[in-house]
Symmetry: D2
């Protein structure tokens, strides 16, 4: 069976003498001239970020890279303990926990804000939009934090950086309004404010979890490097196994 096949892509291509990426000459135009975070933004958004956008974007990645012994970090370390020859498996195991509960807030918060902005009466102030959105939902993603009960230290810093770089837009404004009008006076958490900032950078809401995963990939590598030098995986395993209690 003969057919005309065509698989379009705007990413990488190569021939005998050149490698192109995003329509650029990889060696001549990108290596040494584009930062890694900048390239990650460009790969997803298909436009090169400005210097200010890059700073906000990298601040988000830095904010999300690691949170110590999260369930995903522990899962990665246990997988490395069991299969140290396949680093990719340990990293993948860690990323697979990047779902709704522990890494989803960034995307969920941005989706909540984005939806509220889409639905808003254009004459309403941010506080009015926020009040309506808060009343229409059971739980606002990105509000409140189990540890940082008064203020998440990442929140004011990211808002300041976004303002410094001219990247403070409607999502961050609405999120701040949500914090003001919400009856429970809960702090805006860092994962949520990261989502608002990424949405203000024009990144697609459906892929924001992807940036949280990229950030976490760096954090997980840090954990795996530490597990290699100073392992705790065996102790975690033995702590659980030795305290196992049979219950029919």
């Amino acid at each position: 069976m003969a057919e005309e096949l065509s698989f379009p892509t705007g990413l990488g291509t190569s021939d005998a003498t050149t490698i192109s990426l995003l329509g650029q000459d990889l060696a001549g135009d990108l290596m040494g001239q584009v930062g890694f975070g900048e390239l990650a933004f460009w790969l997803v958004a298909r436009r090169r970020p400005t210097r200010g956008e890059t700073r906000v974007f990298e601040a988000v990645l830095v904010a999300l890279a690691d949170h110590g012994f999260t369930p995903t970090a522990i899962a990665a370390r246990l997988t490395y303990l069991s299969a140290p020859e396949a680093l990719q498996g340990a990293l993948a195991a860690g990323l697979l926990g990047g779902g709704s509960r522990f890494l989803g807030v960034t995307e969920d918060c941005a989706r909540f804000l984005s939806q509220a902005l889409d639905d808003a009466d254009k004459r309403d102030s941010y506080d009015e939009i926020a009040l309506k959105a808060v009343r229409a939902t059971r739980r606002v993603p990105g509000l409140g934090h189990p540890v940082h009960k008064v203020e998440d230290p990442r929140t004011p810093v990211l808002i300041r950086i976004a303002k410094e770089e001219g990247c403070y837009g409607p999502h961050l404004a609405l999120f701040e309004a949500v914090g003001r009008v919400h009856p429970k006076k809960l702090p805006l958490n860092g994962a949520g404010v990261c989502g608002a900032a990424l949405a203000d950078l024009g990144l697609p809401v459906d892929l924001l979890r992807g940036f949280a995963l990229l950030a976490r990939a760096a954090g997980l590598l840090g954990h795996l490097a530490e597990e290699r030098r100073h392992p705790i995986g065996m102790d975690v395993y033995l702590t659980v196994d030795r305290n196992a209690v049979y219950e029919p």
Copy 2:
């Protein structure tokens, strides 16, 4: 059963008002001041890279981020096609191909060079060390490329950047010597030279695959963003399925 438990880490910790990462105040000292690539280096190496080291390191990540429709990129897109609600699964599936054949060269090349340097007679020149190492092995990892048969365009650029930043060390020097003395006159490929450059930055050889995986994570996000906008996964699947031939 009561026991004294202690899980040491040098990465992240937090309390009600602060988040620390690598002994720094995450919000005050890192966000907006440290680039993402710089942080990834720091997390693994446990030391902050200099500005020049960061430039070399990010050039490596940029060089390794994407190579178009690799098996891993196709696997990630097919997984996204099947389970679009779990982006983390598609990313993980792509990374799981980061093993010996398609992503292992970076680490394998660095290990080969590192071993040759460890074994070398200190009075030997790089060409002499290279000649002995080449003769003692069946195949040098990082030598030759199926497409870039004369020169991999990434190679001279990365060597130049390393020299510009004062990061050209024994691994790159030995790899260039290998290229000079090898009887087959094969080009030094980009993945190999990246491994040599990372080793010259003092990064642990056993974890170099991790940096290739981090770089590839950005490339895979680019593929998944493209698959969302302009999918090819279904066409790949149908191309295979419609041309399936039963052979007992």
Copy 3:
């Protein structure tokens, strides 16, 4: 810090001379006396299935084990091509496609039927319940098939086996009623009828995807064994790569 730790489990425990699983002596009571499918049912449901239940359950697993070159099978083969030294990664990559679109129907269909039964007026016939449920939904999971447009050959066989073994219950009855009353006269597909059969076995709806994954694990091993003997992964990759077209 000292604490009382206790991790309860009803699965496996062991000491120097015995291994227990599910409260049984693994070596004395299970090995050689319990089939693998039977054990899988027992592990999830926490009760040993009868001989008839086991036959229905294994018929479902056999029905779902393989469907040729699915996206998940291709993803597993491409991952094996890239990292042949880590079979677990190739298997995991294949399973990661077991999400909403290609493997979710089994669970989704059971959930739809289960919900309709919960909501039903107890005086209604199955056809009446089916009609109300069909009218209340946009799309019934498990109805229709892209290839088996008239009848999925697995459907009548599984219904017959369930009846033979006394395991034909309300979920299968309602699913057949859905087929009768639905205006489009679409066939009941095999994945859907498997979901109905598993629900009639009393297995928890939220975990039915798990059985589809277990079945698929066996199919994926078949693909990986075939990829080892008679590879097609490289051809898939080259077919895509050689027909890549750059589109900005």
Copy 4:
């Protein structure tokens, strides 16, 4: 570009009215007539096992299905805690630990025995072959167990079942000989004897890890079902996190 494409497979194919698997009519010949373990064997070995072979094979799968709170089971539970909406990710994370250390013994033991048999002088007795093989290696895979220091209860049972079914062959015979001649008098562990039994069934040594993974998939589903009903993942996480100690 037009090309002749052909992707051969001996597994599944289908058309509008039939589904074939392994050259059989899936609905007519396999469902309800072939057990799941039997099918898994057939998919990999490409021959239908006898009733006796199936019993030995399923005894192996039952023996390997679960070992309580292993690192892989804990990793799966932590991943389920973080991303409960993606069961496939939790299962995949658990399988990714199926590498060299915790699940590799089965395959490694079979490879050791297989190599020793290949290298053997045909006039040697099993004890003589065993003695040479033991002397030539640093560590015999499958010998010794951290908990079952005197005897692994699975070992005599699996050997008995293999003998009952006429499946006791050179690998099991040699493994028993290894146990007799080894100077340390270590017990033959269950994972190792499973590898020897699978090799005696004629299954390819390079894929034996795959059967350990399939068995473990069932065990992991049991853990995930238990985690859903009676979770311990959060307690594991909190135990680690609350006892984290910062060490620069």
